[in-house]
């Protein structure tokens, strides 16, 4: 009953970058029907995309036999997106800060930072069967 007011979309995908656009499009449709404005639709879409890229690339190491599960939970006042891979996981505390002066000129390492900048809350759950990252965006956030 707790879930009664929530719509959910669950995507269970093979590890293949050609599904990035599909995830993107679903994210756009979901955030649009929820009433997010154009800017937020864009940044949420980018965050979800970055999360799925990480799940496929770093998590599943592009092993097409492994799966990525993306779940959109549309509550009345917020969207939660969880992205689950089948990789070994990682410790987010060990990820270098890309805006520290010594990292500014590095060619990578900006994905998680962007996600954290655009979403209201990001949590990481290292689970026995893979890594889960969970993104939250409130409709009323400034």
């Amino acid at each position: 009953m707790k879930m009664a007011a929530t719509n959910a979309i669950h995507m269970d995908l093979l590890t293949d970058l050609r599904y990035l656009d599909l995830v993107d499009q679903v994210s756009h449709s979901v955030t649009k029907v929820m009433g997010f404005d154009e800017d937020r639709i864009y940044w949420i879409g980018m965050s979800v995309r970055e999360g799925v890229i990480n799940a496929m690339l770093h998590g599943n190491q592009m092993d097409i036999g492994k799966r990525v599960v993306v779940r959109f939970e549309m509550a009345p006042s917020s969207l939660a997106v969880s992205i689950h891979d089948q990789g070994r996981g990682f410790d987010p505390a060990c990820v270098p800060n890309p805006v520290a002066p010594e990292n500014l000129l590095k060619p990578c390492g900006r994905g998680l930072f962007c996600i954290k900048s655009f979403m209201d809350d990001v949590s990481f759950n290292r689970q026995p069967d893979g890594m889960e990252i969970r993104l939250l965006k409130r409709l009323a956030s400034e």
Partner: protein, 112 residues
């Protein structure tokens, strides 16, 4: 992603359009810049007006181009960032790394 190249005096302008993202052939941009540098080009402008999508890999690609140019004593500047790209570069502090211009005349003048 598409790139077309033109000369204005001794400056090369690369008009980039489309997406600069993982999965797109972003190496194309890097290779184009490398070729120019190899040919002794010292003044390069990337016109990003028609880049409609960029992700964190794309940002990394721009940084790589900058770093490579720098290491060869060349200057790579950015022209016509979209509102979204400017926001992204502000957040990731890359506006402190790149020289950016809002119109071609100023970008060209900056090399004088």
């Amino acid at each position: 992603m598409k790139i077309s190249t033109r000369n204005v005096g001794d400056v090369k302008i690369l008009d980039v359009s489309g997406k600069i993202t993982l999965g797109e052939d972003t190496a194309e941009l890097r290779n184009e810049v490398k070729t120019l540098l190899k040919n002794g080009q010292k003044k390069i402008v990337l016109n990003l007006a028609d880049v409609n999508y960029i992700d964190s890999s794309g940002l990394g690609e721009l940084v790589s181009c900058h770093v490579t140019a720098d290491s060869q004593g060349a200057k790579l500047k950015l022209l016509n960032l979209t509102k979204k790209l400017r926001e992204l570069m502000a957040i990731t502090k890359l506006l402190t790394v790149f020289e950016t211009y809002e119109d071609e005349a100023s970008a060209l003048a900056s090399f004088k």
